[in-house]
């Protein structure tokens, strides 16, 4: 059981951040929105609170930009937007990911699926 959890943690590491970048590729989203979206994905499910430190790092690295904005209902929201360097990081990940996935599929024998 512990191994299963460890595996999904390891798989998530290094890929989750690009899922976040892709999520704000076409429109800005606020934190809770991003977190909720991940909550719907069983395979990515992590404690919601752990997404915020990730958002913080992506902002510090310069891949995301953020700004607080008033909400029609409730407290102010912090909206995240993809920066130019975030966009090129995402593009780079996409091409890396495809060849990475193909190699793993070939070696592990999951290509036919």
């Amino acid at each position: 059981m512990a191994d299963v959890a460890q595996l999904s943690t390891s798989l998530r590491r290094g890929t989750l951040e690009f899922c976040v970048l892709a999520m704000v590729e076409h429109e800005d989203r606020y934190g809770t929105e991003i977190v909720r979206r991940f909550g719907e994905e069983r395979n990515l499910a992590a404690s919601e609170g752990t997404i915020y430190p990730l958002l913080s790092r992506l902002r510090r690295v310069g891949w995301l930009d953020s700004k607080w904005s008033e909400s029609p209902s409730g407290p102010p929201r912090r909206y995240y937007a993809l920066t130019d360097s975030g966009r090129s990081a995402l593009e780079h990940f996409r091409s890396e990911w495809v060849s990475f996935r193909q190699t793993v599929d070939r070696l592990v024998g999951t290509g036919g699926a």
Binding site: E48, G49, S56, R57, G62, S71, P76
Partner: protein, 210 residues
């Protein structure tokens, strides 16, 4: 009721803040503000009113330990074990069933952590910020470091293995020569035993029964 739920939120945020004392102040404040905003957003947008609904909300968020562990990992920092070791171990004792699984990973992160620094950690120094050309630098660097280290480690392992093999080979020859001696010695007892087989063979003379 709302007092109770507010208490739960305040308590949660307080617990989290205690565990984040090792983070730079701005990162700590930022995370606390985000988490607080998340809780408020969820309460408003999902009309969370009852205490049980609120506890569910907090549960989805993750325990303060889990969130803090993620915060230190993303910040490229080791969790300040000393500063709240007491709190952690105290938390572990009363809640052995639930906390350990989510809690135990952090220490384990120490291992897988290593590869990260090159990549994400350099967030302080702007390596990854090398926006467009970001592609080449980090990977090559990582590979260089990795392969260099690996080469050194591999060389060390090979040397150790060779030494071990030498010892094993030596020991093997020793035991071989010893076993060569042994048969010679065992020949003596062997000479004692033969008589027995000899007797049985002589037994066949049942033909003498004739």
């Amino acid at each position: 009721m709302s007092d109770k739920t507010n208490d739960a939120v305040a308590e949660y945020l307080h617990e989290l803040e205690l565990r984040l004392t090792g983070l730079p102040v701005l990162q700590r404040r930022e995370l606390l503000a985000e988490i607080a905003a998340h809780i408020s957003n969820e309460r408003v947008e999902r009309s969370v009113t009852s205490e049980s609904e609120l506890l569910e909300l907090l549960e989805r968020l993750g325990s303060p330990e889990v969130v803090a562990a993620a915060a230190y990992e993303e910040a490229g920092m080791a969790e300040p074990v000393l500063s709240y070791a007491g709190a952690t171990s105290a938390a572990r004792r009363p809640l052995p069933a639930v906390p350990p699984p989510p809690d135990s990973p952090p220490p384990a992160y120490a291992g897988p952590y290593a590869p990260d620094p090159g990549f994400a950690r350099s967030s302080y120094a702007p390596p990854p910020v090398a926006g467009p050309p970001f592609a080449p630098p980090p990977p090559t660097r990582q590979q260089d470091n990795g392969s260099g280290l690996r080469a050194v480690v591999a060389a060390g392992i090979v040397a150790v293995v060779m030494a071990l093999l030498g010892c094993v080979a030596g020991a093997f020859f020793l035991t071989q020569s010893a076993s060569v001696d042994a048969p010679a010695v065992s020949v003596v007892p062997g000479t004692e035993t033969p008589p027995e087989p000899g007797e049985p063979t002589t037994v066949p003379p049942p033909p003498t029964v004739e």
